[in-house]
Amino acid sequence: MEHSAAIKRLSDPKPQGRWSLPGIGLVKGLLVTATNMLQSYYRKDRMTTVQYPEQRAPISPNFRNFPFLVYDGDDAMAGLRCTACSICEKECPPQCIYIVLDRDENGKSLKRPKVFDIDVSVCMNCGICAEVCPFDSIYMDGEYELSTSDRFGGLLFNKQRLARSTNYHAKLRPLQAAEVATRRKADEDKKLAAQAAKEAKAEAAKEAKAEADKEAKAAEA
């Protein structure tokens, strides 16, 4: 390893040909302060203060805050993509998600949440729920002015409060939403194609059977 002897100490010999004055270090420092003060009036990179709330700094497209739930179509509650699989509930580091699966009267799963609550006073904005969701249902929001005077109820977001349309998602994160939309479209097409193929196969089998029956009948005759 190389030794870099760049640390100069007070006891080091002074370089020849330069005069030194007691207190010159202080003056040098004050010059820096004065330059900074003057530059803060005209240099763009030194004018860093933003007068919130009159002015607002632009939000980064990757910025994440609290999660929201995406729904397809117009009806928020009917179109929720969430299937209440509880993966996010299990993976959530501070355990702030609370999910109850909706069931019909026979106890059969309806694959949708009856209750989906997020306690945003506990949520630590990590984004792991969005990452683990296999149904493209939960994403991170960029909304940040969420103060409320109700400490408990106001910070417990239910599924009505959390639901956001696909348009909202597309506006918030265009790249991610576009990628998700194409993937979902491809999956849907694949599913439809598979179903069509299955139907065609069933049709073919039926025809073949009918043919065979016919032949058998002919042979009997």
Binding site: H3, S4, G25, N36, N62, V132
Partner: protein, 385 residues
Amino acid sequence: MISNPFMAPATNPAAPELDEDQLLHVSLGPQHPSTHGVFRMNVVLDGETVVSLKPVFGYLHRNHEKIAEAVTYLSSMPFTDRLDYICPLTNNWAYARAVEQLAGIEVPERAEFIRVITAELTRLINHTAFVGFFLGDMGAWGSALMYAFREREKILDLFEDLTGARMMSNFMRFGGCRNDLPAGWAARASELVNGFPRFLDELENLIIGNEVLLARTQNVGALPKEALINGGITGPMLRAAGVAYDIRKAEPYGIYERFEFRVPLGETGDCYDRLMIRFLELRESLAILRQALAQLPDGPYINPKSKVRNFKPPVGEAYARIEGPKGELGFHLISDGSVNPFRYRIRPPSFINLTLIEDMCLGLDLADVVVILGSVDIVLGEVDR
């Protein structure tokens, strides 16, 4: 009389015996602004001289290690951001490395580059913020810290674009990173790296050669190399005393072997050397950043085989360490084959660097205690965990 055997006799006048009635007990903290968080020191003074110093910590204890044993491996990642909240990305990296070692996951080349770039940017943040805080400890509260934070904010903007959060990044994943660099990010980072030396010159002009700074820091708080090594001190504090030990060189991890950089060393290990070593390390970090940004390859940013859900490493044990900005940051994990670790242990640099604080302070004035505490560079989120 408790004396500091390492101090020169001139600074430690041997008093024959102390009258207990004449001693003054001072509780420094826990809310004193120069304690870097909620940390308390019980100091016993003989006049102005420190005769005993007992650190008291635990005010910020959050039960991190025990929580990590109850949640999945991935769920511990955002908690590591909150250890040393000045530099979350190096914490992420150390933990990701430990799990990768445990499960034997390969990391793609581009991900290694992204990790090096983010880690060195984190080092820039930490060392500039250190200079500001250290000056604040000496009473220069304001200018230096504000200038440091102004530059830090530019790096935090880069982090926000990359990870989605300024400080709580939660970015590294087992086998790579969570997302790729956004469009134009590398160019912006290069721009920042190229403009940074100008700020460093300014910061050096502001404080170097300042007579008050020299008087307050030189020959204060030095310990011999042997005491530091025996105490387990790592990082800039050890290198300031002239011990050439940097994990990036001693046990290269990631792709640090590919970059050319020097390890700056101090001579005496006093507070002045500890301050200056940070300036020199900043320049070396900039050199690494320039090389890494120039060589950044294309490719996957995460190992495609890595699992997000239901990740279960095989039964085993792993200890992985990195050279964090404050010293050796290590994670020790024991897996029993289930979704959560059986044992999760952190070796925090701030906490272990703090253990010798009494030895450094004995025989000095009360005002020096605050300077020495500042020079250790602690973050209470990491000390108390």
